[in-house]
């Protein structure tokens, strides 16, 4: 219990602790979006012709699309011409060859975020790709991974060095026309991570990307593509923070996962973008499309997310279970407090035979936070023997918040076994009473109960992240209770 008590003391400052700005020379495009801007992004990144065409086609289609309004979130209309679509630290103009050549200021930035790249490289055994605004600034552990044939690099590098892989898989899971934000991302995406795990290789370490939005008035549009070839395994982590600006910033990322026969991808996110202030000013609009394709037999994709940041979250990490006996999982803890709004959930599309999926979603709403779980479980006529178990619970803290559940279940095969359960309630007074009677303060009791409530999800996170996530949750809920 002492560790937990300490963290509570540590976190009585309830401010967003990653709210500072790194003062660094940057190249920032002037706000606005047109074909020329896309051409400039593509030129800046020295992209091949086909990718530029791909971007332009996405852009042209995007122009014909309407921003979706079905999510249970409210925000002022986004002016897409007021956003700058590219920002990069100037010092990267000549790309560093290794971590030693990276601008010390950038390394310091990551150190302040608790991601000392050097240390992580040497001690923690986690390979990190750090994305600063629009570009990847450093990728650690490259050589060691290369020995195994694993490709882990920034997306731009992948386009340069492995165009055949990028071309083969880009847009196959999330097509450029998929939805409004995916189309926008496809047109203007700047950087992101690329991972390829060759046949039969079990990636020996966690791969990690850390996203940092720094510049004011910019949007971040990264693109991640992970391919796990037959029989391979990879665990991938993603973390994000942003400084405090009083205007809203748009983050519209696309993540595509592809698992071939017998492959497994585990994708974990700890999302802690700046949520805006108490009054709901500023903060990140997190409009993200994440989708995994279990293309091969017996493949498995597992999403774990801890969502505590962002002013607005619009995110549905999904699995398409195409291979027979493939498995999809979704574990989520989402917290909305202050004026945060979150509309999040998952989609499990069962196509192959004997596919199974599990959804565990734990929502916590506090203050004036509004949260919606929106999920789809679809069993197609081909998915004989499909199985789904869904549990989505909401915890309500305070009488101003809201918790909503919108599951969609569609079944077209009689052999499917689908179970869905949901509950919404506040923390039981009897539970708090019991803890207090054992000598815990009310605050400790709440922390204990909330932790227990989220345990099913935290258990799925890699160790380093589980600790971070737990801490994050406590910070986030500070002052919400009592």
């Amino acid at each position: 219990m002492s560790a937990s008590t300490k963290t509570i003391e540590e976190i009585t400052r309830r401010d967003y602790e990653h709210g500072w700005v790194t003062d660094i020379e940057q190249i920032v495009f002037p706000p606005g979006l047109n074909e020329d801007v896309i051409r400039r992004i593509s030129a800046e990144k020295e992209e091949p012709e086909w990718l530029l065409e791909w971007r332009l086609e996405a852009y042209r289609h995007w122009l014909t699309m309407e921003e979706p309004t079905w999510a249970a979130v409210r925000y002022d209309k986004i002016d897409y011409q007021a956003i700058s679509y590219f920002a990069a630290p100037k010092s990267l103009k000549d790309r560093p060859k290794s971590l030693d050549e990276v601008d010390p200021k950038l390394l310091e930035t990551y150190e302040r975020l608790g991601i000392p790249l050097h240390e992580w490289e040497t001690l923690a055994g986690v390979a990190v790709d750090a994305v600063f605004d629009s570009v990847s600034v450093a990728t650690s552990y490259k050589e060691k991974l290369a020995e195994l044939g694993i490709i882990f690099c920034s997306f731009s590098e992948a386009v340069r060095n492995h165009p055949e892989l990028v071309r083969k898989y880009l847009g196959t899971v999330v097509p450029p026309r998929d939805n409004f934000f995916a189309a926008l991302n496809s047109a203007v995406f700047s950087d992101g991570s690329f991972v390829y795990i060759p046949k039969g290789v079990r990636c020996p370490m966690e791969l990690s990307t850390y996203f940092r939005m720094n510049a004011r008035g910019t949007g971040q549009f990264e693109r991640t593509l992970i391919i796990a070839d037959e029989g391979s395994y990879v665990s991938y982590l993603e973390g994000c923070t942003a400084p405090m600006h009083d205007e809203n910033q748009l983050h519209a990322a696309v993540v595509e996962l592809i698992a071939l026969d017998d492959a497994e991808i585990k994708y974990s996110t700890v999302q802690n973008w700046y949520p805006g202030d108490e009054e709901g000013r500023g903060g990140i609009y997190n409009f993200v499309t994440k989708r995994g394709l279990c293309a091969g037999k017996r493949s498995k994709i597992s999403w774990t997310q801890v969502e505590t940041g962002s002013a607005i979250t619009w995110k549905y990490p999904s699995c398409i279970l195409r291979g027979d006996e493939s498995v999809g999982e979704f574990y989520s803890v989402a917290v909305s407090r202050g004026a945060q709004q979150a509309d999040t959930g998952t989609k499990m599309i069962h196509i192959g035979k004997n596919t199974s999926s599990t959804i565990i979603s734990k929502g916590i709403s506090a203050d004036r936070g509004q949260q919606t779980y929106r999920g789809l479980v679809r069993i197609l006529p081909t998915a004989e023997g499909a199985r789904n178990y869904t549990q989505c619970d909401s915890m309500l803290i305070g009488d101003q918040c809201g918790a909503h559940t919108q599951p969609y279940i569609e079944v077209q095969h009689p052999s499917a076994k689908i179970e869905h359960e949901a509950t919404a309630s506040k923390i039981g007074e009897d539970q708090i009473f019991y803890c207090k009677q054992r000598g815990l303060s009310e605050e400790e009791a709440v922390a204990l109960i909330v932790n227990g409530y989220c345990k099913d999800v935290f258990r799925k996170l890699p160790m380093e992240f589980a600790v971070e996530a737990q801490k994050l949750l406590e910070i986030t809920l500070e002052d919400s209770v009592g």
């Binding site: 279940i409 079944v411 095969h413 052999s415 499917a416 919404a424």
Partner: protein, 444 residues
């Protein structure tokens, strides 16, 4: 949500004009409500699939056909005979093609304290009651079929149970579609008012063998403080018919209402149950059973709104699907800000007997209060193999074992039916409709 713009002059606007003489004697407030409903419909038209609440249904066949209101009721003697036998004890009120038929009804023993009046007459004799309630609950502004009904209903009936009246025998309202309804539309309208402390059992039956027609009934139920209403609705429209029913119940303090829906009819059969728990202590029990065969689409939408603290709602809907068919259950529990101590439960279970049956289940929660207990569950699957195996190991053949398990599945939703004749009837219907060995009947 963007709606497809529908040209203002739909056939329904013509129907509205055609009925002007019917409405001639109506008071100004009613004329206004009807005109407003017509305008609401004209402005929005039929919902497209882009409309969330209608996304599973293509209304093309309905919007593309000119279903005119039936102006003169046809013959229904045989059906009425069957009904009389079916409910030997009940007060019987028969409406044919939306028009009250005194000749077919059996109201000679109506007790004191129970008022049953055609709406046209009630408008004169009970104007203030109607003005308070008629068209004030079912949302014509929001719902296309509630709007059409409000604008176009001709007959309709008021049932009022007086203060503290306890009615021993059930009242059965039968809406029959005669052969005259073929290719036409009927708009049954009922207003049920249970005054303070009243107790009432009421059955509404929608039945027809008129081939393709549009049935768009609206029932408004008002339960005053401490009133107790058991309401049963049976949707047995023709397998070729389009049925869009709306039931809207409003519960005052400590009122108790049970809503029971049985749906087996219609090519497209949709039943929407709206419940407003408007004052503390109100309680609603909802049960539903839907049975689908080849070519059918049956849909239940429930909208339970906890508007006040200390209310309770409980829902259990079960469906059995056989053949190529589609079932929809979409249930919303809404808990308003301040509706603390809400206790809401919702459950949807579906049994799929054959391939190509399709189920959509959307149990939804929208909660704006914190001291609540809300749960929902949904499940789908075929008959449990281990249970089948167990029964067979006891010497029961496969078909009979199936029948038993199906029976067990549906019996749970039939249990709350308090009117024995109705329960027996629903069970018999279920056994008739569903595949499986009828030997099960011997067990019951």
């Amino acid at each position: 949500m963007q709606q497809a713009v529908v040209e203002r002059n739909t056939p329904y606007s013509d129907h509205f004009r055609d009925l002007s003489e019917v409405r001639a004697g109506e008071p100004a407030w009613l004329a206004e409500r009807r005109a407003a409903a017509m305008q609401a419909f004209e402005a929005r038209g039929f919902p497209s699939r882009r409309n969330e609440a209608w996304r599973n249904l293509d209304l093309g066949p309905v919007s593309g056909t000119d279903f005119r209101p039936v102006r003169a009721a046809g013959a229904v003697d045989a059906e009425v005979e069957a009904l009389r036998r079916q409910f030997p004890e009940a007060h019987l009120l028969v409406l044919v093609d939306g028009h009250l038929s005194a000749a077919h009804s059996r109201l000679d023993q109506l007790p004191q304290g129970l008022t049953v009046l055609p709406l046209a007459e009630a408008v004169r004799r009970q104007e203030s009651l109607l003005r308070t309630h008629l068209g004030q609950h079912a949302e014509a502004a929001e719902h296309p079929f509630a709007a059409l009904n409000m604008a176009l209903f001709e007959g309709g009936v008021l049932v009022q149970a007086g203060r503290n009246q306890v009615l021993e025998r059930p009242l059965v309202l039968v809406h029959l579609a005669s052969a005259a309804a073929r290719q036409h539309a009927i708009y049954p309208r009922s207003l049920i008012v249970a005054e303070e402390g009243a107790q009432l059992q009421l059955v509404e039956v929608h039945r027809g063998r008129a081939g393709e027609y549009l049935n768009s009934p609206v029932t408004e139920i008002v339960a005053a403080p401490a009133a107790n209403v058991d309401y049963y609705v049976m949707q047995e429209s023709d397998p070729e018919a389009y049925h869009f029913g709306v039931v809207h119940a409003r519960l005052d303090r400590d009122a108790r209402v049970s809503l029971h829906s049985f749906a087996a009819g219609g090519k497209v059969g949709r039943t929407e149950l709206y419940v407003d728990l408007a004052a503390p202590g109100a309680e609603v029990e909802m049960d539903g059973l839907y049975l689908l065969n080849e070519g059918q689409y049956i849909d239940h939408h429930t909208w339970v709104r906890h508007l006040s603290p200390h209310c309770r709602s409980h829902q259990l809907f079960k469906g059995v699907l056989a053949g190529r068919c589609q079932a929809v259950f979409d249930g919303l529990v809404y808990v308003a800000k301040g509706a603390q101590k809400t206790d809401a439960m919702q459950e949807n279970r579906n049994l799929l007997l054959t391939p190509r049956a399709k189920v959509h289940s959307n149990p939804r929660l929208e909660i704006f209060a914190d001291d609540v207990r809300c749960t929902h569950g949904s499940s789908m699957g075929e008959l449990d193999e281990t249970a089948l195996f167990y029964l067979r190991s006891r010497g029961i053949d496969g078909e009979a074992a199936k029948g038993m398990l199906i029976y067990a599945f549906i019996a749970e939703v039939l249990e709350p039916v308090k009117i024995e004749a109705l329960r027996q009837y629903q069970l018999a219907e279920a056994l008739r409709i569903l595949p499986g060995d009828l030997a099960i009947q011997e067990l019951t």
